[in-house]
Amino acid sequence: MTDSKYFTTTKKGEIFELKAELNSDKKEKKKEAVKKVIASMTVGKDVSALFPDVVNCMQTDNLELKKLVYLYLMNYAKSQPDMAIMAVNTFVKDCEDPNPLIRALAVRTMGCIRVDKITEYLCEPLRKCLKDEDPYVRKTAAVCVAKLHDINAQLVEDQGFLDTLKDLISDSNPMVVANAVAALSEIAESHPSSNLLDLNPQSINKLLTALNECTEWGQIFILDCLANYMPKDDREAQSICERVTPRLSHANSAVVLSAVKVLMKFMEMLSKDLDYYGTLLKKLAPPLVTLLSAEPELQYVALRNINLIVQKRPEILKHEMKVFFVKYNDPIYVKLEKLDIMIRLASQANIAQVLAELKEYATEVDVDFVRKAVRAIGRCAIKVEQSAERCVSTLLDLIQTKVNYVVQEAIVVIKDIFRKYPNKYESVIATLCENLDSLDEPEARAAMIWIVGEYAERIDNADELLESFLEGFHDESTQVQLQLLTAIVKLFLKKPTETQELVQQVLSLATQDSDNPDLRDRGYIYWRLLSTDPVAAKEVVLAEKPLISEETDLIEPTLLDELICYIGTLASVYHKPPSAFVEGSRGVVHKSLPPRTGSSESAESPEAAPTGAPPSEQPAVIPAQGDLLGDLLNLDLGPPVSGPPMTTASVQMGAVDLLGGGLDSLMGDESEGPRGDVSGSPAMGGTNFAAPPAGTMPATLSAPIGGGLGDLFDLTSGVGTLSGSYVAPKAVWLPAMKAKGLEISGTFTRQVGSISMDLLLTNKALQVMSDFAIQFNRNSFGLAPAAPLQVHAPLSPNQTVEISLPLNTVGSVMKMDPLNNLQVAVKNNIDVFYFSTLYPLHILFVEDGKMERQMFLATWKDIPNENEAQFQIKDCPLNAEAVSSKLQGSNIFTIAKRNVEGQDMLYQSLKLTNGIWVLAELRIQPGNPNFTLSLKCRAPEVSQHVYQAYETVLKN
């Protein structure tokens, strides 16, 4: 009798029948019924209605029946939490069973039932099982801790399971060790900052010993864990490498790849002069090649990883070109990957062989593969200069085949070859022109047109050729239209006499008949250039082009280094960091290679910082609030706005400043507007020009307050004072992983009396986002959005939108801790997300914050001395004048300046939006970069934040 019959019952009313059978007295019938239930469950039928009846079958000594019931429970417990409690007793009882297989089964299953009420009962049995005498139970319990942590992390910590798990790393049984390592690694991933795994030379030694003894899977867990360790010096790195290299001969490819990961990572720490370094390099090649004789799916994973490895260390596989030759029967995904690696390994030594192969591939059947092969020939030409000529002739041979897509692809790559070796292979143009009619793909057409335009002077009938394209101008794709426009202008500049008509035709087509703004703009630019200054036009249009480089398709080095840390994993298959495809906080810890040792190579990976040591700008975690936002806020957020000071060039001069400021502000990195005392009045006009129209330029012209007063108060050039309120660079407030793909970064600005929150919304999810709305929690200064969040169009994946949200200060007030904390809720069509951020206090300094002199004196005396707070501003290399003009830009006004015993005393005032006055005395000693700031205010709690605002403004 077979089990397949259970799949065939489809008649109505079967639930009732099953119910009856489940309650039957006969054991066999019961078992049959449970099997039927499981079969229905598998094909997706809802059999949750049978829950009580199935659970009733649980109390049995028949292990097979028990396992089936457990399977059912794992599936449906979540939908029937109250009923699931009924099962608890049996579980607890089973955890005491004399048979270790049953104890393990019970604890394993219990961990899979994700019902809160059950987890409470799980703790005691789990604690016992973690210390069970039988290793089989212990190894199961170790994984169960990870399960429980996934359901209720707090519970696991409170119950001290983490410590027990750590103890299991020293267990005598290698499989228990391996599972404990796997569980700890997983838990540690969700707590990147905690030092859970606590890897040190002793524990590493234990792991390396267990490595020799445990199953293939256990070896993978241990190697993956080892890869996260940072050896303290090169000797330790070497000794670990020595103990890991035997794994390269394991039959399991995953063990091999994980070992390769450890070696590639620790190799960074070894000096290249070391003999061992060379030995290691040699040892790595054979196992990598062997991976290519595995099953095709594994070959694919291996090839994707080899692609990274040859980019990082090309020397490892430089002699192994032949193994990457494509076999006729390879699956297409293996073929395409092999081709990629062949190009990376191509060098002068092997180019002849490679070209012969590529030519062979270009005659294959699969269109994508053929195209890639043709493209590869072009890349070889660009990469290996000596081979260029041979490549070109190979391409010409391929063009002769007249296979449509081969010809088109060949023309595209020949264009690239021209751009790398100008004026060398023009002889082939004639052949190319013969194939003009067969080109139907935009990329190929555009490439051909570019060639004709670029070499117009050598092609007798260039005008005819281009004219032929012009007939169907409006049906062409934008790419072709743009290229055609440029090519005809080039032609005109080269042969002005015969082609005047043609150029006029194309310009009018582009500017008058086209709806495409890019095309129109380019058309107008050419038109004006040609009409105002043909000589300049010639210089612009026919300028020498930069040569294209060979390495355009390489992975960017920082990403490459990160991916090397992920060898063997999905990240290395996708060539994307895990954060790009993993949801939530798991596995998104940024990994980096160890810093390179040896002075000669220090430049190779300057960005690599030791893992674990958080970057210095890491913000302090914002303290959790007692309200409903608390939990959400307890995650670390991006740097708060008042955070890291931007380093900018000390004092920039006139023109440079104009551009620098304008550009910087466009990129959201602006530090400060041009400094009035340096650039003077011409800068004002210039600033206006450079400022983008949207008003993102922070440098606003805050009118100086009565130029005459300047003299009175000893200010040297109050007239020219021109400065803007400091705007911090945009910081990530809400990382995409915490908001289902929505990333929000932003900053606060104050311009001419109005505060706004500049936001950058990025959609990193796969679906379109819409229906955005924003709300602030009550806060200390009543900040509130003055207008709804306007996102005009739905945000499609990978799109970013910049929004300036005007704020007012008439919202409801509640004192926050810290004072400048702002809790924000953002809603979109997916969900509501919460984050909190600190705003810099200077956005609240109002423009009429200048106090009368007499008033200042009176208020200063009036405020009790207890309210005075003193601060040190360190390392500020500015002089008194620069300081006061800088501060004035942020509405901190200097009322008087006095020189007392060689020290400059600045008396300043400012007013907050809620009317609180703050008075300040700033003591500056010439030559001493440390200032002393005394603040007096009736609400002393703001002093601290005012001081921070001073720091921020002065140092940026």
């Binding site: 077979t2 089990d3 397949s4 799949f7 099997k35 499981i38 079969a39 997706g44 000594d61 292990l63 097979e64 396992k67 048979n99 297989l101 089989y136 994984v143 990870a146 399960k147 049984n173 499989m175 599972n179 199953t215 293939e216 899977w217 993978i220 103990r243 001969s249 394991h250 039959a251 995953a254 091999v256 790849l257 994980s258 054979p286 196992p287 090649v289 062997t290 099953e295 095709p296 799916e297 594994l298 994973v301 291996a302 032949k322 193994v323 076999k327 006729y328 297409i332 995904y333 005659t363 294959e364 059947v365 449509n404 994993t569 999905l570 990240a571 996708y574 495809f581 993993v582 949801e583």
Partner: protein, 434 residues
Amino acid sequence: MIGGLFIYNHKGEVLISRVYRDDIGRNAVDAFRVNVIHARQQVRSPVTNIARTSFFHVKRSNIWLAAVTKQNVNAAMVFEFLYKMCDVMAAYFGKISEENIKNNFVLIYELLDEILDFGYPQNSETGALKTFITQQGIKSQHTKEEQSQITSQVTGQIGWRREGIKYRRNELFLDVLESVNLLMSPQGQVLSAHVSGRVVMKSYLSGMPECKFGMNDKIVIEKQGKGTADETGKSGKQSIAIDDCTFHQCVRLSKFDSERSISFIPPDGEFELMRYRTTKDIILPFRVIPLVREVGRTKLEVKVVIKSNFKPSLLAQKIEVRIPTPLNTSGVQVICMKGKAKYKASENAIVWKIKRMAGMKESQISAEIELLPTNDKKKWARPPISMNFEVPFAPSGLKVRYLKVFEPKLNYSDHDVIKWVRYIGRSGIYETRC
């Protein structure tokens, strides 16, 4: 880690569905069916990402096995696990087919519960699994000793072998199975050639025998021959350079790394002891010399000569030469000196079969291919001529030198073990371009 594992039939119906992680929902089952099984084009990658969920799949006949995850898992491990899963299933019920899977679905669920815990692969050696999971249902009536024996085997250092095995006759079989791969240019130049070999051992040995395997590995021979110079010269010829080798998990890798000696306690029955690859001094058993001539636009003349290149006393078997023909072939006339040749229109090839052929011989086939005139501009791709054969020697030159067995606790010695060694060389991808 692995979040779920699904098995589908060719229609995309789920046969087995086991979810290990909360982040994988029922919709994942459908997503894979819609996007991969029912996809219009050919599968372009064994890893597919659909809405932030990654699917790994392998196919066995018309059955799809898919592992699903939302995390950054070890991709190589997932595939290794899927292959292992297939091996385990095959060891329990033979061929992986829809029928067999449906017939054994309870067993499969049980296995999945055992070998994958929370998505982490656990001991998956069939030898160990079979001690407590059987097709007849679970052996629940174990004695206490048996129980602890099972658990210590499943978790122990020697998870692949149980204690207390007894045979009246201690016997072992060693098969050296090689597949020789070749890619040759039409001019007879070797573009690439390598041998991938496997040493498969079938052992029927009592107790916990300690085995040591020796072969003519160049590094070992040179190490040993250091004392006597002339011996090095002599044995240098017979030894082979192994590019790389991998071992079954029973082999002590650290010992191989330090001393290059292969020592292990074997699983009972059949297993693959090692895999290796060589590229130097390969004996290519056959040479294929193609000659293709296009006569006008409607006719092709093909002449192919094969030469055997090994000792005349040895016999090659199951020889098959496959000569591809263009798609627009209308008729073929073949004449061959030996064996049988047929034009198979459905496979677009002439298949020439020879049952046996001794070494140092030569044979020839000539064919005239009539073509239909076409307006298809695309040239015929001329796929390579491929060959299949089996020869009774190892093309890499590998020789087994010894396999010593020690079992100190039982009273049988190395001499009492009956040992058999066999060499089989097969064609892998053996192609000559024409």
